[in-house]
């Protein structure tokens, strides 16, 4: 319903007729052929990035079932097999994306990696999945932060942000 791949004019006409039943805005996006890499980010003002992981899809589109409900449908590789240079570049871009989009606490940033090693940011998820097969906590586990410690850290970050905002408000009121 929401996403389709358009190869020709008639497919476009067809997609257009249904488009605005669901949303008042549509996006026409370049189709990227490449590996799908994901990176977890954690922190507020000084966020850190995890080791990247890779999704090896078994369907052309990552369907709902394949992603979450059928563990066989998705092959996850954690950490992703990447050179040290690519890992560093992805981590840097993940943090830059997190900051550019005013994120706080947590986010998972999804990338495409082309054959020529070009890295493109695909999207960000501000509440990533936490299921037993989810990338966000798995990437932190692979980076040395266990699931329980991750939850603890996220809650502490929530308090830190809250206190910081409260100080700002107090300073404003006192002026």
């Amino acid at each position: 319903m929401g996403v389709s791949k358009v190869h020709n004019h008639s497919e476009y006409e067809q997609a257009v007729t249904q488009a605005f039943a669901y949303d008042n805005k549509i996006l026409l996006e370049e189709y990227i052929r490449g590996r799908e890499i994901e990176c977890s980010v954690l922190g507020n003002d000084d966020p850190v990035a995890s080791v990247p992981g890779e999704i090896i899809p078994s369907h052309e589109f990552y369907s709902y079932d394949a992603k979450y409900l059928d563990e066989q449908g998705a092959a996850l590789e954690v950490p992703a097999r990447l050179s040290a240079e690519i890992v560093t570049a992805i981590q840097r871009l993940a943090i830059a994306t997190f900051k550019a989009l005013s994120c706080e606490g947590m986010a998972r940033v999804d990338f495409f990696l082309r054959d020529n090693n070009e890295i493109l940011v695909n999207e960000i998820n501000t509440i990533p999945g936490f299921t037993s097969i989810s990338m966000y906590p798995r990437l932190w586990q692979a980076s040395g932060i266990a699931y329980t410690d991750l939850i603890d850290r996220l809650i502490q970050l929530a308090f830190e942000r809250f206190e910081k905002e409260r100080r700002l408000q107090t300073a404003y009121a006192a002026d």
Partner: protein
Amino acid sequence: MAKKKIKVGILFGGKSAEHEVSLLSAKNIIEAIDRDKYTPVLIGIDKNGKWLLQDAANYLLNASNPKFIKLKPSERRVALVPQNEGRLTSLQGQPDPGSIDVVFPVLHGPFGEDGALQGLLKMADIPFVGAGVLGSAVGMDKDVMKRLLRDARIPGAKFIAATELAGIPEYASVVVAVGEPFLFLRGRQQGPQSLRI
């Protein structure tokens, strides 16, 4: 002396196509949270958007089957109101449902991840995990997200946004701008198609 435990309101389920995924995520968080330090307070949001206080020992039906997992029905409707120091309000005149110190939203998609809930939590003056109103809203609107990334010179796929009001671009001009084949996406990320694990 034992330190007072922090009460973490875990909000999960939700009025979203990703309701079941949220149940699975919440289940893991509730199992893994450090009980020496935190007391989880479970608030399940049903598919109509009602907030239901749940028993941490028994809140799911078919918990072990991802395909049939369901939020257990509950009669204990609760709400958070502005500036009430985290106290939950019972909507059905039941005994005091208690209070929470911080919220962990485990909700995917609209009403949970798009800034709406984050605004409500700010009005209630309660700390919460994750992005605030702006970061949440931006992350759910792919057009705005991609414009901000372009502005920050972060590389991404080429795109054009179109609205019904402004009119749909000609096929030929789309191909010139983004190539062929291309993806046809909804502007707001409301469906499971936009998700990855």
